[in-house]
Symmetry: C2
Subunit: 210 residues, 2 copies
């Protein structure tokens, strides 16, 4: 069988194809900036779903704040180990950043049981009390996002793209009204893969700007 | 804020909503079996994308073979750590199974470099030479799926759902013609999250049948 075997060539060609499809099917479509374009195209790359042209919401300060936060030491807290797995932690570390997921932390398991809340919520409770600059990346758990919004805490940015049918759309709608610097998915769609793609697109942008 | 905080209640309600939407929007739609239904609904649950009603392909023997393989000791090889993260490894272990991803294995890194192939391909080369019953779960890398099909090796099942624009559709098309017991995504869509959801749906089915 003949097939392209060079990962960089595959990725470059994929982005070209995505650009061509957007031009052909949505000739009037304009990306708000090259970074918006890079993020949206990377999400389409990871989902093969062009609905992402229309459902990714950015607060006015989102990309400026996320770029600033990811280019200096800080901690990304994810709601799932899948999102943690998908984020390019090697590149993140070159900026001094790191990534944590507390969903299986024994403290989280104990607190969730004691308080009758989800482990996703208990993980947020622990994260917000840690020192240092914090970003939250949620691809799965609406309860994590709702919980974060209940805390009155300074965050450097939120990638809020929980997927699902119960609370997901509502949690993301609440995020868009929170005033936090945020990227959110409107409606039901999202996912850990989408969350990681958004973070990685920003990291690659920062890497290219070095 | 008021929101449902019980994970099992959230999941059960989500599946009810998915069923209602299918009934309303596709009243003629019929699932081939309760397990087909469980798998397709779990993929929709993880993507919020109802196109999955139409693009998931099952070989005639796929579910029988996958159920048999997952209910006894064996190894699932994934192409990404995201798929590995998403699979319920605790439940898998209760059947004696385990899950491995070799993408960052030093042998894989060295072989890929030496041979000018992708790490995904080198990971498959190592996996097929290991002893024991093997299942392959690919959500990301068409080259992994193409490589597996190049090997003439007995496998207990393949979940082949690489997402993307270069080679993904072709790799899955090749899988449907391979004669292997397989679940495949037709077209561009797929993903590590989808791959994990398919495996988990089968594991939950087996757990319920105990």
């Amino acid at each position: 069988m003949h097939y392209i075997q060079q990962p960089r060539a595959i990725e470059a060609k994929s982005f070209d194809i995505i650009g061509e499809i957007v031009s052909e099917t949505r000739p009037e479509y304009r990306f708000a900036s090259p970074l918006h374009e890079a993020i949206i195209k990377r999400v389409i790359h990871t989902t093969a779903d062009f609905e992402w042209l229309d459902i990714l919401w950015f607060s006015d300060d989102a990309l400026q704040r996320l770029c600033a936060a990811l280019s200096r030491p800080g901690v990304i807290y994810t709601d799932t180990t899948m999102a943690l797995s998908g984020i390019n932690k090697t590149l993140l570390a070159t900026f001094g950043g790191e990534c944590r997921c507390y969903i299986s932390d024994p403290r989280v398991v104990a607190q969730a049981k004691a308080q009758g809340i989800t482990r996703s919520m208990a993980a947020v409770d622990i994260a917000v009390n840690e020192a240092g600059e914090k970003l939250f990346v949620f691809g799965n758990a609406p309860t994590a996002l709702f919980r974060l919004l209940e805390h009155d805490v300074a965050v450097s940015g939120v990638v809020g793209v929980p997927v699902g049918f119960v609370g997901a759309a509502e949690s993301k709608e609440a995020l868009t009204r929170s005033g936090l610097p945020a990227v959110a998915a409107l409606g039901r769609k999202g996912g850990s893969n989408v969350a990681a793609a958004i973070v990685n697109a920003i990291l690659y942008h920062l890497q290219g700007a070095r």
